[in-house]
């Protein structure tokens, strides 16, 4: 359809009135420019806000015990209880939709008292007893050494994986970290790994102030028996954790002898639900972006259609001549369509390029000034570009349709009579 002759024909025709071609092209350029930019900004906002969630696997809930609010089976109300390690196994065994069930115990906390020492240096850190799969739920960048392993769990090894800020407060510059010992609540732990947080923005400081030790070691060293402080539960990607949640809760109440209606006894935070709210909001914003962009684009398309109509009208005689020379209606129609298509696509591409340029500049500025609240990495994916291009192609065809039909409506003899 697009051979070289066609190209020449089209370029010649577009070239014949450059200023008008330019003005026409501008409408579409502007439309797609706005569309891409809006989507990129929405994306930037979304990236910024989602960064606040850290990079924890979002299809997760956190669950902890917080005391009963109803008497049940002779047990009083206001009773405090702990999850047990056996509960973790029960969840894994009975709810196949779950991908990870990580029991966790914690020591210390934000602005806690000093609990870790090394030689004469001390610091207050968060100490977690964890299972190896926790790193799949909360991705960490291991810088040196390794994370916890199952043999650590089984052998209850006294080892620790420590965050960057821990290193900063307990070690001198250039000191070897792996293979050294730190004292947690008076107990010696061998450091086997160091980490920093994987590309999260918000709370890295707190996170990097963290020490991970094997769950079993933690229980033994700090006398937790088989108690579980809380759990981080992640469902498989194809099931939503929110839909599995009721079964988890029912099961836990049963195992912990809690009244089936006692909603307060087990606390939880549904990361998936919160995340979905934000995502939903941004989906709406994206739709608004498409809508506004499409409307602006539409006016550009109407512009092209309009100009093509004028062009066709102006060239009525020329079209008559071409038909006298043997141009079929399809020849004429497809040329008008292609002119409009070429005009739309070229101006659209320029719009996309311009928008990309602006986005690139924004990113460069963001990079140089550092993180900005609730805004990060505005960008549009290849998917959006493909959608934008499809919109352009469809618009180009739509814009050309009426003019193309109009071009061949007149009988050749009447077209030739026009002066």
């Amino acid at each position: 359809m697009f051979n070289r002759d066609r190209w020449n024909e089209i370029l010649e025709a577009l070239n014949a009135n450059r200023f008008r071609t330019f003005l026409t092209a501008f409408g579409v350029f502007w439309g797609i420019f706005i569309l891409v930019l809006l989507l990129a900004l929405t994306n930037g906002l979304k990236n910024g806000v989602q960064a606040d969630f850290g990079n924890f696997a979002t299809n997760s809930i956190f669950m902890w015990s917080q005391g009963t609010s109803m008497p049940y089976k002779g047990l009083p109300k206001g009773r405090y209880f702990n999850f047990k390690l056996s509960d973790v196994q029960a969840l894994k065994d009975n709810i196949p939709e779950l991908k990870y069930v990580s029991p966790r115990n914690q020591l210390g906390g934000f602005r806690g008292s000093n609990n870790v020492t090394r030689n004469e240096k001390t610091g207050a850190f968060d100490i977690y007893g964890d299972y190896p799969e926790f790193i799949n739920q909360q991705p960490l960048d291991i810088m040196e050494g390794r994370f916890l392993s199952y043999s650590d769990i089984e052998a209850k090894r006294k080892i620790a994986v420590i965050g960057q800020d821990v290193i900063r407060s307990l070690y001198d510059k250039g000191e070897e970290v792996i293979g050294s010992y730190i004292k947690i609540n008076g107990i010696n732990f061998l450091v086997v790994g160091t980490f920093k947080n994987a590309n999260s923005q918000g709370d890295n400081e707190q996170e990097a102030n963290t020490i991970y030790v094997p769950f079993t070691t933690f229980s033994q060293a700090f006398n937790r028996a088989d108690n579980v402080g809380w759990m981080a539960i992640t469902a498989h990607d194809d099931v939503s954790i929110t839909s599995v949640k009721p079964r988890i809760m029912t099961m836990m109440r049963e195992l912990r002898t809690v009244h089936p209606d006692d909603k307060r006894a087990i606390g939880h935070f549904d990361l998936a639900e919160e995340f979905a709210k934000i995502t939903g909001l941004f989906n709406i914003l994206t739709v608004v972006g498409y809508f506004v962009g499409a409307l602006v684009l539409l006016s550009g398309v109407i512009g092209i259609s309009n100009i093509m109509l004028i062009v066709v009208k102006e060239r009525t005689k020329e079209i008559g001549v071409r038909r006298a020379l043997g141009a079929s209606p399809w020849n004429i129609r497809s040329q008008v369509l292609q002119e409009s298509l070429v005009l739309t696509i070229i101006s659209g591409m320029i719009g996309i390029s311009f928008a990309s340029g602006i986005i690139w500049i924004m990113n460069t500025i963001l990079d140089s000034v550092g993180p900005v609240e609730n805004f990060a990495n505005p960008s549009v994916g290849i998917g959006v570009i493909i959608i934008a291009l499809s919109i352009l192609i469809i618009s180009g065809l739509l814009a050309g349709l009426i003019p193309a039909t109009r071009a061949t409506q007149m009988k050749p003899v009447d077209a030739l009579r026009i002066e």
């Binding site: 020329e318 071409r322 038909r323 006298a324 020379l325 043997g326 141009a327 209606p329 020849n331 050749p412």
Partner: protein
């Protein structure tokens, strides 16, 4: 070559209808050069346009080279026009933004001829009309006579069976008119069938046969002694 029987054509405008052709019977053989004469409004162009398949008759039959021309769809009509007919217009009707060469190659373009072949053929016809040196010029850079020569080259480009010229000299001064007619006569000498619509006696007499239209009918149809259009030295 051309056989027309009892051809009628009316124009309708609102409630009025204008019966322009009222039963034309006409034949043209290969190699003829025929002038169609008549006063303004007598239906000469209407007749030529029907012959050119740019318009359709209401009644009557039309055969071109034994092919019945009836109820053609536009696609077929376009193909026939391209293969059988070459048009020459009073106002040249060159495409303004195309060079002389590209104008001449247009019929070949619609025939789907390859670019290189097209250019070669177009160049050949430009040479034939004596404008090889003007190949790359735009129509706006040419004189009226030159434009009409380009148009003639264009009409010849697809090697049609019949040339249809509607007042080809109508926009030209006498000297240029004669030059153009000389060219057309030369083409006819090579055997091409040509119909020339004109209302000028001298132009008509440069053809070999004159058909007079009046009140929608053929008034008379006679063979004449062809006057050669040698450009008179004193004009």
């Amino acid at each position: 070559m051309i056989a027309i029987k009892d051809l009628h054509k009316s124009y309708h405008m609102g409630n009025n209808s204008l019966h322009v052709l009222k039963g034309i019977n006409f034949e043209a053989n290969e190699g003829e050069m025929i002038a169609i004469m008549g006063s303004s409004g007598s239906g000469k162009s209407t007749f030529l346009n029907i012959l050119g398949m740019l318009d359709e008759a209401d009644l009557g039959s039309y055969h071109l080279d034994n092919v019945p021309i009836k109820n053609l769809n536009e696609k077929v009509a376009a193909r026939y026009r391209n293969q059988f007919l070459g048009f020459i217009f009073q106002s040249f009707n060159l495409i303004t933004y195309k060079s002389a060469l590209d104008n001449v190659s247009m019929p070949l373009y619609y025939q789907g001829v390859k670019r290189s072949v097209r250019t070669e053929k177009a160049m050949h016809y430009l040479e034939k009309v004596g404008l090889a040196d003007w190949a790359t010029h735009l129509p706006s850079e040419l004189s009226g006579g030159q434009k009409q020569r380009v148009a003639i080259a264009r009409a010849l480009a697809s090697d049609p069976k019949v040339l249809l010229a509607d007042e080809p000299t109508g926009a030209l001064d006498t000297k240029t008119s004669y030059e153009v007619m000389e060219l057309i006569q030369g083409i006819n000498d090579e055997g091409k069938t040509i119909l020339v619509v004109t209302h000028e006696e001298d132009i008509a007499h440069m053809c070999k046969r004159i058909v007079h239209l009046k009140d929608g009918k053929i008034l008379d149809d006679k063979t004449v002694e062809q006057v050669r259009a040698k450009t008179p030295a004193h004009v």
